[in-house]
Structures are given as C-alpha cells and as structure tokens.
C-alpha cells in the first residue's frame, strides 16, 4: 500500500514545496496565476503539426524549476500521471492520419505521429506548468488570486475543499488498507469480495472525517469565504515578471524561434 502512502506524500510534497522562499515563491500569486494562464493558452493554441514551434516553450518550466529550486524528477513523475489519458485520446492518430508530412533523418513521418507527439508535448507542458504553479504558490494563495480575478466564491471554495478532501480520502484509504492487510498476511491485494464493504466503509469514514474538519472550520468562524490572509500589494517585479513572460510567449507564438536560430546558425556557418 505504499501507493496510497506515496500519494499522500506526493500531495503534501506540493504543499511543502509551496512553503519555500525563493524569488519565484515571493512573487505575487496573481502574477504567477496570470503567467500560467497565458502559458496554457499559448501552448494549446498551436496547430496539431507544429511541434518545432512549441519547443521554445519548454524554456518556461525549466527556468521555473531552476529558480524555484524544485526537484525536477518528482514533478516530471507527477506530470506523467496525466499521460495515459492523452495517450488514450491520441493513440489512433497514427492509424487514421497516415499522410507523410515531413522526413526526419531520412525517415518519413506521418501526420498522425506528429499530431500524437504534439498532443503528448502539449499535455506534458500544460500539466507541468499547473503543477509548478501549485508548487510555487500553494492552493490557498492560488484561490486568493482567483478571487482577485472575480472567479465566483463557490467555485474557488469547491476547488479548495476538493483539494483538502482528497488528502482526507487518501488517509482513510491508507488506514483501511493497513487494517485489512495486517489481518490478511497472504493476500496479494484486497479480495473482490471485500471491495463493497471496504469502499462503503471508506466513503462513510471519509464523510465523517470531512464533517469533523468542516465543523472545526465553522467553529472558528468559517462562513463560506476561505480567508487565506491578504497578500501583499502588487509590486513592480510582479508586473515585470508577467510582462516578460507574456512577451516571450507572444514571440514564441508568432515567430518560429527554432527556425530563426537555425537560420542564424546556418548563416554564421556560411
């Protein structure tokens, strides 16, 4: 059951990383949220065959990983979690779209494979950028920024409580698993006969626990508004951070940077 324990650890990994003090963590949450939104829009706006144009956007997560001192491996592992879904969506592209659109190192590459790879790349970059936002800002501050953008209170609350409820659910699942496995030493997993009662138990226990957490919140004055403290004022550095990344994304979107660099290098070579 290290899987569930791992998942709890992983969820907390993001919370813990968000508590670091680095130049990226110190930026205003709104600036980071807007940059992430701009990044997401830019990444998904590329056409399905435009792999080379997307490549410069890898620069953004790499820079953030470096500046925010976030270990890259755990982040990449979490990014991979979303991949099976995209593989499921794009796996038939190579089958249906067989038209050769380019030749790479002498190998003909079909449109299907190109669009499949572009889908994987887009998914990887978007998931990674959102994880980086959570790991450099924290869910509470992201919610604060969302409220600044006038996202309705109910949605923000839903987001925050779902995030908190997930860890409650995982903790209950871990303790049920421990109780089961300690009394079934030869079992290699949970017998399907026990799935029903265990899932029911888990749901009821999670509801109870969530209820108690909610009561604790209500007793301390919670009335539907998740007050996470007021963030500091927006400073020049926040504007500069947003403006420079937005400019970079715009350039990457409208100019083919790899082609440009390639042509410069070829020009120098001549």
């Amino acid at each position: 059951m290290s899987n569930i324990k791992d998942s709890i650890f992983k969820m907390r990994f993001l919370d813990e990383t968000a508590e670091k003090r680095t130049p990226v963590h110190d930026l205003h949450p709104l600036a980071k949220l807007l940059v992430t939104i701009a990044y997401l829009i830019t990444v998904v706006s590329y056409g399905k065959y435009e792999i080379s144009k997307i490549l410069p956007l890898v620069f953004y997560p790499v820079v953030i990983l470096f500046l925010a001192e976030i270990p890259p491996l755990p982040m990449l592992k979490r990014t991979l979690l979303a991949m099976p879904l995209v593989v499921g969506i794009g796996v038939f592209n190579p089958v249906f779209d067989r038209e050769i659109i380019t030749v790479l190192f002498g190998l003909p590459v079909s449109g299907g494979w190109t669009s499949f790879l572009s889908l994987l790349l887009k998914c990887g970059l978007t998931v990674l950028s959102v994880l980086l936002l959570v790991a450099t800002t924290g869910m509470e501050k992201i919610s604060f920024a969302l409220r600044m953008l006038f996202v309705p209170r109910i949605f923000v609350l839903q987001l925050l409580l779902t995030y908190r409820f997930t860890s409650v659910l995982l903790e209950e699942a871990a303790s049920i698993w421990n109780a089961y496995i300690l009394r079934s030493p030869f079992a290699r997993g949970i017998s399907c006969k026990a799935w029903g009662p265990l899932l029911g138990q888990m749901l009821m226990r999670t509801f109870d626990r969530a209820q108690r957490v909610y009561q604790a919140m209500v007793l301390r004055g919670f009335n539907g508004e998740y007050n996470t403290g007021s963030a500091r004022q927006l400073l020049l550095k926040d504007f500069l951070y947003f403006a420079s990344w937005a400019a970079f994304f715009a350039i990457a979107r409208y100019y083919n940077i790899p082609l440009f660099i390639g042509s410069i290098m070829t020009g120098v070579g001549k």
Partner: protein, 256 residues
C-alpha cells in the same frame, strides 16, 4: 460577569438513529470555573460539548451563554465566545502551516493582517510552540499537535475554553506540559475527559455523567475518591489517590 455564565436547562438530545445521548441535563457553570465532565465511553460527554457550541441542536431544553441562547441565529457570537478543541487534533488542523491554522479563526473574523499576526504569535508563545509556526501540522508530534489545536482555539480570544479529551494519546511529558498549560489559563474551562488525575489537578468541580444523565456534581476530591460511585459509572478512582500498588500504603502517606 453574568455574560460568562453557562446554563444548561433540561437538555435532551436524541441522535437520528434513536440513541438518547443526553437525557434531561441541567447545571450552571460560573465565570472562571474549571469543570471536569467525566463518564464512561458513550456517556454523553462529547454530545454535551457539541450541543454547547451548536454543532448539534438540542431535541428539547436550552443552553444559554450569558443572556444568549444557543440557537442557529446566535451561533457566530456563541462560537466567538466559546473555543472548542476537538478530541483529535488532526480534525482541527487542516491548513498547510501551523501559523495559517492558528490564523484561520481571526481571519474569518475579518481582523487586519497585522492584528492577526500579533494574535497568532502571542497565542503560539502562550502555548510554547512559537518555533513551530512554519511547520506543517501533520509533521508535529502528538503533544505539539494538541498545543497547536489549543492555540488555534485561543487565537479567537474566547471567554470559555472547552476541551474534549485533552490528554488522549499523549506521552507522560506532553501530558504534563499540557496540564501545566491548562493550569495557567484563567478562562472558564470545561474539560471532558477520562483522565481523572487531570481533573483532580486542574478542575475545581466535577460533573459525572452516566447514560446522558448527571449522576453527581461536586468537588473533584469528593467525587473521585468515592470508589462506589466511580465503579457505578464505569470509572475508577484516580491513580494519585489509589493505594500504592507495590506496598499498599495509602496515597496520602506516599505523598508525605
């Protein structure tokens, strides 16, 4: 000081499954009193506390905190006056750092951020965990979690402190630290517990509950030394007043 008086008037509570948890309870708690509510498991102690803070509303009867009845409309005022620390601190600590958790209440009451910070730091220092403010609550030890949960309640500046099983799952040193901490508070205290030695040390009044009814209400020494009463209510006399298990000498002689 009548505004700190708590009145339980002919209180009844029946759970949706039909369990009669509180069965005609009446008593008054005065300002500054330390009251220990003791009883076996399922006697109705926790239900009583939940009724006091309005998590549950009585089936019959009423509770008044000063002039204010505990009712849906008055809950925000009642909950500002009464701080309840849960039996399991894990249920109470849900933010990512101890600081944010302790600040949760004051922020909900719309205090300015400098005022919130002042209150949080003062409270953390009071319970002696100022150095843990940036730690994640789930990484704390049992005693530290309990202290953080009490700090989270104290930061609301309540007049009345209500604690459910404060020493459950604490090691002896953490327990001792907590007892000393509670002794230092001048708030009205209501403590529901099985730890009868704690009641003997901290409380100046004990209420014994059995099957949702008050069986006895008197000074801790009188009640807790009554072996018959303790036996009848599924409890036993506190270790500090039992005879020595090795030589059999009475407790008062051992303490001399």
């Amino acid at each position: 000081m009548s505004h700190h008086v708590i009145d339980f008037n002919e209180l009844y509570y029946v759970y949706p499954d039909g369990k009669q948890a509180v069965n005609g309870v009446s008593f008054r708690i005065h300002h500054g009193e330390s009251v220990g509510i003791v009883g076996a498991n399922g006697a109705g102690k926790s239900t009583l506390l939940m009724l006091l803070v309005g998590i549950l509303l009585p089936t019959k009867g009423e509770i008044r905190v000063g002039e204010i009845p505990v009712a849906k409309k008055t809950l925000p005022v009642i909950r500002q006056r009464i701080g309840l620390a849960f039996q399991n601190p894990d249920d109470q600590l849900f933010m990512t750092t101890v600081y944010d958790d302790v600040a949760f209440g004051p922020r909900n009451y719309q205090l300015s951020e400098p005022e919130v910070e002042k209150r949080v730091m003062k409270t953390l220092d009071t319970v002696g965990i100022g150095h843990l403010k940036d730690r994640a609550p789930y990484k704390l030890s049992g005693g530290e979690k309990r202290a953080a949960a009490i700090a989270a309640v104290l930061s609301m500046d309540p007049d009345i402190l209500v604690i459910d099983e404060p020493t459950a799952a604490l090691d002896p040193k953490s327990r001792r630290r907590l007892i000393n901490l509670l002794k230092g508070f001048t708030h009205t205290k209501i403590i529901a517990t099985h730890d009868l030695d704690l009641v003997l040390e901290i409380c100046d009044r004990t209420i014994v509950i059995k099957e949702g009814r008050i069986v006895s209400d008197d000074s801790p020494v009188k009640i807790l030394a009554d072996a018959g009463l303790m036996e009848q209510c599924g409890l036993e006399t506190p270790l500090t007043i039992q005879n020595c298990p090795v030589c059999g000498s009475p407790a008062h002689r051992r303490t001399q």
